[in-house]
């Protein structure tokens, strides 16, 4: 059961996480994927269909960077629309977290059984 919650949660925030990672630093897919699989345990294979989708939605654009070793690397950066999407999803996420946190807080008065 916890696994199902886990998967659903990650699925929902994956796009937001990718937008946030790219807002910090323009990056290439492997780096984004390993950032996210370290941070939230996302399966790394999901990054490619996701990036293609975000690209076709006009949220990210790509450019090639020459690499000293091997072929040039495809970098992603946020477009105007991507920044706007990040802003909207971030505030939505914050509101959501505040609401869930409020529900998770034990009722403060008279709740002596709570270990806190």
């Amino acid at each position: 059961m916890p696994e199902i919650i886990d998967v659903q949660l990650k699925k929902g925030v994956l796009v937001l996480c990718v937008l946030a990672v790219l807002a910090r630093k323009e990056s290439y897919a492997y780096e984004i994927a390993s950032n996210l699989s370290d941070a939230i345990g996302m399966g790394e294979g999901t990054i490619y269909p996701l990036m293609r989708r975000m690209q076709s939605d006009g949220w990210v654009e790509t450019y090639l960077v020459e690499s000293s070793s091997g072929p040039s690397r495809k970098y992603y950066r946020l477009t105007e629309a991507g920044h706007a999407a990040l802003k909207a999803q971030r505030s939505e996420w914050r509101t959501f977290v505040v609401a869930v946190d409020a529900l998770l807080e034990p009722v403060s008065q008279g709740d002596q059984n709570d270990p806190k």
Binding site: V7, K10, K11, L14, V15, Y28, A29, Y30, E31, A33, S34, M42, G43, E44, G45, T46, I47, Y48, P49, L50, M51, R52, R53, S69, G70, P71, R73, K74, A85, A88, Q89
Partner: protein, 189 residues
């Protein structure tokens, strides 16, 4: 599985997509293997983290067929969407197949019938006045127009039902994604 096996299977599975998109997709996974190797990971480990390439190819393939339908609702994109759906090869799809064939057959039959009626109306309208039919000239003209109008209505209704059916199929097909699912789930903004 080695990197070459993975890429071969992926490429084979995608072979009837446009070459440009196949090359883009394959290049992404090639780069992934290269970056992972640079990070000291084995090919087998990376391949298993990426999932089954044949399954991945089937789903990418299906997705491109379904997207074609969503972009332009034409008869040929409807056929592309239906093949994309069948290409997923899920077991419940195979069970549904006879029912789907029945429905598709009926829709095609209604379309053909309606077109036939339309032409019959056209002929009645054009030739009827010269054939001294029981209703006279006015009867032939009105009857012809009436038949054509009824046929157009049936065609329009059938088209609506067909579009609705294909949309339902697209929705159902997406339920079958395993590899792509986390990434392709529509985002509710």
């Amino acid at each position: 599985m080695t990197r070459n096996e993975f890429i071969d299977k992926l490429r084979k599975g995608l072979s009837d997509l446009p070459e440009v998109s196949v090359n883009e997709i394959v290049a992404d996974y090639e780069a992934h293997f290269a970056d992972a190797a640079a990070a000291g990971r084995s090919e087998a480990e990376v391949a298993s983290a990426l999932g089954d390439p044949e399954r991945l190819a089937r789903e990418l393939h299906a997705e491109s067929g379904l997207k074609r339908w969503e972009k332009a609702k034409t008869p040929s994109s409807a056929i592309a969407a239906i093949f994309a759906f069948l290409g997923l090869g899920a077991i419940d799809i195979l069970i549904l197949l006879p029912i789907l064939m029945g429905i598709a057959g009926s829709l095609v039959g209604i379309f053909i019938g309606a077109f036939g009626t339309f032409f019959a109306g056209g002929i009645l309208f054009a030739a009827g006045p010269f054939l001294s039919l029981p209703g006279g000239v006015a009867g032939a003209l009105l009857g012809g127009v009436g038949l054509m109008a009824a046929a157009v209505m049936v065609i329009a209704l059938t088209a609506i039902v067909t579009i609705w059916m294909v949309n339902a199929l697209v929705w159902f097909a997406r339920l079958h994604y395993r590899v792509l699912k986390p990434a392709l789930e529509p985002q509710s903004n």
